[in-house]
């Protein structure tokens, strides 16, 4: 039983990372209603941007993080402007948009691998010498603590943006019915472009934090996206709160699931949870 506090902390850390991905993914899905598979690669763009700006060019780390987040946002915005928007204008189905996003993901992953090689890289400056904190009988590193705090701040910020601003109202209107939103005078394409920027920037931030915690590789986005999508499905696709709830539930189930059995079952447990929800509650916990 003495490992329970550590397992709880591990679950919160994993849940926070999944939540960051799920937040951005749900934000984009809510407005566009399609599974943007390129969302995962934004995490890799953020991570590699920080690696390049901070480690290669030697820029200030905080400035590099801002640039990394911004670059991921810009790439996401660019994908919408140059790929998804023209397809939407042609009334392309969600399946076509999904395939287009798969193509974008594969292409961007390949570009990263060409530019930086496929080798695993660390962007942390203090490998193995991080400050450790004892919390409730468990140990947590400085980076992990930052991950949890950032996730909480991002959630609060996103809720404020969605429910307390005019922009948020417009996003919710598009999410409810894009055609009606257009009729009442909302420039939906412009708003969706901004949604892509914010959602992709969040994925970029998640990639940067994962990069500091473990490391980066061109294909890192796919694994993160899978966990983010599972979290979204469990919590309720398109629902901001649902994504976060699903992420933490997934984190807890994964980490407590391997308490008594071998660690190699971790992914099997995650996908079993997904299947259980798809069969018994396909709309997720939060969606009615």
């Amino acid at each position: 039983m003495e490992i329970v506090p550590q397992l709880i902390l591990n679950s919160i850390i994993a849940g926070s990372i999944y939540a960051l991905i799920a937040l951005g993914f749900n934000f984009v899905y809510g407005a566009t209603k399609f599974f943007n598979l390129a969302h995962g690669v934004m995490a890799a763009i953020g991570g590699y941007a920080v690696f390049y700006f901070a480690k290669t060019l030697g820029l200030n780390l905080y400035f590099a993080v801002i640039l990394g987040v911004a670059l991921a946002g810009i790439v996401g915005y660019g994908l919408d402007k140059f790929i998804y928007l023209p397809l939407r204008k042609r009334k392309a189905s969600n399946m076509v948009l999904l395939v287009a996003s798969l193509g974008a993901m594969t292409a961007l992953q390949a570009v990263i691998a060409i530019l930086f090689t496929s080798r695993f890289k660390t962007i942390s400056q203090n490998i193995g010498t991080q400050k450790l904190f004892e919390v409730l009988g468990g140990v947590i590193t400085q980076t992990q603590l930052i991950i949890i705090l950032v996730t909480a701040l991002i959630l609060a910020g996103l809720v404020f943006l969605l429910y307390k601003t005019l922009f948020g109202k417009a996003v919710r209107a598009i999410s409810d019915d894009e055609e009606v939103a257009q009729i009442v005078g909302i420039n939906t394409n412009k708003i969706i472009g901004y949604v892509f920027f914010i959602g992709s920037a969040l994925a970029g931030l998640a990639g940067i934090l994962v990069g500091f915690d473990t490391g980066i590789e061109p294909t890192m986005g796919l694994g993160l996206l899978l966990k983010g999508v599972i979290a979204s499905v469990i919590g309720g696709v398109g629902n901001i709160y649902g994504g976060v709830l699903g992420a933490f539930l997934l984190g807890f189930v994964e980490n407590f699931g391997i308490w008594k059995i071998s660690g190699e079952w971790k992914d099997a447990i995650a996908f079993t949870l997904l299947i259980v929800f798809l069969i018994f509650r396909p709309r997720g916990i939060m969606n009615k």
């Binding site: 490992i3 496929s118 473990t214 590789e217």
Partner: protein, 365 residues
């Protein structure tokens, strides 16, 4: 020019291109009777590219060191990223397009893919791999210190250090599984106990919960059995969990580019190369010999020795090369005096090493 004429010209151009392509490919794949082609499948990109590059450099060094020979030897390298799925297509390309006479592979996973293909196509295959299954068949050989030898040295070292409780983190991967299966058998004959055995999937990056499970096991040392980058992430997360228990490995530390993460730790590795080879390799690459580089150097020379032993008017058949390889005894390699045993395994000794000043060095007991 009317439409019909355009069609006729178009068809003629297509036929001309096809015919030219056919003759060009026929010409390029024509096998010289004097030339022995050796295809090498190794990771030239991806996380373990540094190991593939080491193997490539060592084989090019061996080719460069070659004196007067009856035949000429050509090396053809194919990248498989140490991914078994890619290995199959790389080998098929070497066999189908390059018409190689021998194949060299790296890793137990890829080795297990190449072995049946080599057997089916009657082509000599030498694997740098732990899994003895890679050497099954008439044409397959292994040049790697066998798990039994590495484990014998590892267990002796544990006993010498008075370690009774061993914790294990092992990757769910063929090479690691072969070593662990033999180690568990060997430990049954000792008073050393595996107090925790945590298995994880290849590609896993979050080891926090399995580390938590192992933390209070009472292990006096943790054995890490993983490839890069799992081994580095695992080592880092063990430290971040506040665990100061020593770490050790069988080969794994040298599978990492960040060996400094394991500064001061001892481990068992496949045989250490001679100083002469190390000096030559460093002069060529400005790097220490990477894992498997010395084996690759020896493999090139073993193939040459087996081929040159055949005195005929045409080059030897793969069957003849394979037969000749099985007779090799006390071959003077950079990993010591090498002999091929009845299972097709080139026997070499294991070494105890440690990471000192960020570099792997041998330790004298």
């Amino acid at each position: 020019m009317n439409k019909l004429t355009k069609w006729v010209i178009g068809i003629i151009v297509v036929i001309a291109v096809v015919i030219t392509g056919y003759f060009v490919s026929q010409n390029s794949s024509k096998v010289s009777t004097e030339q022995i082609k050796i295809g090498v499948v190794a990771p030239m990109s991806g996380n373990l590219a540094f190991l593939g590059e080491g193997i490539r450099d060592a084989m090019l060094l061996a080719q460069q060191d070659l004196g007067n020979t009856q035949y000429t030897y050509e090396l053809i390298f194919e990248d498989d990223q140490l991914d078994s799925k890619i290995t199959a297509s790389a080998v098929n390309k070497l066999l189908g397009v390059n018409k190689v006479d021998a194949i060299v592979s790296f890793g137990s996973g890829p080795g297990n893919v190449v072995a049946p293909i080599a057997e089916q196509n009657n082509v000599v295959h030498l694997g740098i791999a732990s899994d003895p299954n890679v050497a099954k068949g008439e044409f397959n050989f292994i040049h790697w210190t066998p798990p039994a030898e590495e484990n014998k040295v590892f267990v002796e070292e544990l006993q010498r250090r008075g370690i009774k409780k061993l914790g294990v983190f092992e990757s769910n991967q063929q090479g690691a599984a072969a070593v662990m299966a033999d180690l568990k058998e060997k430990l049954k004959e000792t008073d050393i106990e595996i107090v925790t055995d945590q298995v994880f999937n290849v590609g896993e990056k979050d080891f926090r919960s399995i580390i938590s499970k192992a933390k209070n096991s009472g292990a006096e040392i943790y054995l890490l059995m993983a490839f890069s980058p799992e081994v580095e992430v695992l080592g880092k997360q063990i430290k971040e969990a506040g665990i100061n228990t020593p770490l050790t490995s069988i080969e794994a530390f040298e599978l990492s580019e960040q060996v400094d993460l394991f500064e001061g730790e001892w481990y068992v590795n496949a045989a250490s190369p001679t100083g002469d080879f190390t000096t030559k390799f460093e002069a060529k690459t400005n790097e220490n010999p990477t894992l498997g580089a010395a084996n690759a150097y020896d493999i090139f020379n073993l193939i040459v020795a087996a081929t040159e032993a055949f005195k005929g008017s045409t080059k030897p058949t793969p069957n003849q090369i394979a037969n000749e390889l099985t007779t090799i005894k006390d071959f003077n390699g950079v990993l010591g005096n090498l002999s091929v045993d009845e299972d097709g395994i080139v026997i070499s000794k294991a070494a105890i090493r440690m990471i000192k000043d960020g570099k792997p060095v041998d330790i004298d007991n």
